[in-house]
Symmetry: C2
Subunit: 382 residues, 2 copies
């Protein structure tokens, strides 16, 4: 019998210090090899985003066959979703930034699901008005990351149900209560909306194949903790006559409070930078953020700091230092003791303010066409 | 501890010889008293249908308050549904005939639900094409019983989902897996569509109140075996701010094969007269039907027959002898031995042929407007 793991990663619980290689073994996923990265680099016209080069995305299922099909003239689409329980924070961008990169560089369509029904079912403290409102706010934020209105399709559950339901009916017959109990830890006290929900979450992965009447490959970037969920989607795909979606898994990133995986539930709003945080709040949160610095300036100058345990460095790494040269400079000078935490934070605050200002502008423009991306009509009756 | 009952009546199982008074006690429903019947008689302008006068409907929940409201200028609506697994048979009419009577005599709107999703989830042998096709065929049959297009509203699940889903989201949060497990006997192997389904089945009961933003009372005629189902609907009503639907319960009727409750599953197509049976088949089934007659003509002339155990008498009683005088004549001459089973059957065959011919004509006319009764638009977004 293998020794019990010291960490737990499921779609509903992440705890302990995660051994990511071991997790990949446990889940049975494939590593994102240098060969695959080189291939993506070539297909994208000689570019790879930091999220791929810096090891944030590190695991996958069936990415190879997906790229084979792409090279043979069968383009895939990317699919990602958001449960609108409140404002987005910068960690959420890890998922949507990579989608936007595929969308932009490989020219593939983007499908976004906004699960305003599911979040209402999952969080008894939220009203329908709230999940619907956050759904729209979150959608604006996502679209503003650089999606093309002509190639972006949104399933806003409560508003897209007519388009999704004929397919959801077929999906739901393939999934039992035992299946979802095993994956999500559901119990007798779970409401029947949440039990049903996974059928709707599988729909976008199959929808283009269903609509077009031919196999359209799908790529789902997600946190590795969501793998069991989409494993269920993969398990039922063939029985329905659709290709299994390929998956691209990211590691979980630490929050500003520096304790393992970012989590903003409870009184932990300071663990993340929300996209609607005013500049003053962004500044306060970054100033208070956990770093890998030393107890004193003198000590840090002498011994250097530890970027790997630093929440500020994580923000540079995942999003705010896209240029490799700058990221290397920050990492090197941090480690050497040249860069002090206070200066590093001041620099990040500036950078985040710049992004927020640019994002706010893009977000306003998006409002003109966001509604037009919401799918409301079923492509066929059955 | 009470002695175990010798019968079982649940929404998914009916067996044993049912003691209807005991069942009412067990379920905690109210008896349909002569006072209530007299009141209905008066409200309907001096008329009661055989289904009420002959004890087919015998139990209720909250019919009194429903009629109070009606008399105070707050009309209710009637709601009934059909799971389209195949053609309708004459037993199904017990439910829709009584709805048509309320609709016609009390002028109340009719809401019909066609559950083509649920039957696909419940019967692995049925395709979506089949449940959708039977849904439409069944709807034609129901509408042809005499519903007014202007006051009839149909929820055809797969096609009405956009109209139903915003309300279904709210309903589903109120019902747990344990609730549906207790009522329907669901297990781990039950698919998540079926688990979710009861939320959709509760929607029509609340829909007019939701749509109009005021309490609109609802009456659901159903077999007593369906009481636990709608008890769940009643239990959640107040938490959602809607009136509890009133229920009107019928007894289960025997089939042509004469064994307890009509059931056409398995190889039992001969237990019922399907509305799409050709005349020859109707004739064959009635000729073969179980009766309360004696072994020989001589014996029957001498001792008389027993209408209460007779499937042919049941058809006269529930639908085919609407005039009281004729029904009394049939019952009296059967019991006295004057009326022989062969003659009685010949007379019924004639009567059923007449109904089928008239029904086929009405059914053709219905096709012109059936589509217009299907609700497809939500009255509000949330």
């Amino acid at each position: 019998m293998p020794a019990p793991e010291e960490f737990v990663v499921t779609p509903y619980e992440v705890k302990g210090k995660i051994d990511y290689d071991r997790l990949r073994e446990l889940f049975g996923t494939q590593g994102l090899t240098p060969e695959l990265l080189a291939r993506l680099h070539r297909l994208a016209g000689g570019e790879l985003p930091p999220l791929l080069t810096r090891g944030i995305y590190y695991s996958h299922r069936d990415l190879g066959p997906l790229l084979d099909a792409y090279e043979n003239g069968r383009p895939f689409f990317v699919y990602s979703g958001r449960g609108p329980s409140g404002p987005l924070h910068t960690s959420h961008l890890i998922q949507f930034d990579i989608c936007a990169w595929f969308h932009r560089r490989l020219g593939v369509p983007m499908y976004i699901q906004i699960t305003d029904d599911e979040k209402f079912w999952a969080r008894s403290g939220l009203t329908r008005e709230e999940t619907a409102r956050w759904g729209l706010e979150n959608l604006y934020d996502i679209l503003a990351l650089g999606f093309d209105p002509k190639r972006t399709h949104v399933f806003f559950d409560s508003r897209s149900i007519a388009a999704m339901y004929p397919l959801a009916i077929r999906v739901a017959r393939k999934i039992t209560f035992s299946n979802v109990k095993a994956v999500f830890g559901f119990e007798g006290s779970t409401n029947i909306g949440l039990v049903f929900y996974t059928a709707l979450q599988s729909v976008p992965a199959f929808w283009p194949s269903w609509a077009e009447g031919r196999a359209v490959p799908c790529l789902i970037p997600c946190g590795i903790d969501q793998d069991p969920h989409f494993r269920l989607t993969r398990d039922i795909a063939e029985g329905l006559g659709y290709p299994k979606p390929a998956l691209l898994h990211s590691k979980m990133v630490m929050g500003l409070l520096g304790e393992g995986v970012m989590s903003t539930t409870g009184n932990r709003a300071d663990d993340a930078l929300f996209l609607n945080d005013p500049p003053k709040v962004v500044e306060r949160k970054i100033r208070a953020a956990f770093t890998g610095g030393r107890a004193t300036v003198e000590e840090q100058r002498r011994l250097g700091a530890t970027p790997e345990v630093c929440s500020v460095w994580t923000l540079w790494r995942t999003r705010f230092a896209p240029a490799e040269a700058e990221f290397e400079e920050i990492t090197r000078t941090c480690r050497s003791g040249e860069l002090l935490c206070g200066d590093c934070k001041a620099r990040l605050i500036e950078r985040v303010h710049g992004f927020y200002a640019q994002h706010a502008e893009a977000r306003e423009k998006v409002k003109d066409w966001a509604e037009s991306t919401i799918v409301t009509v079923a492509p066929k009756p059955l």
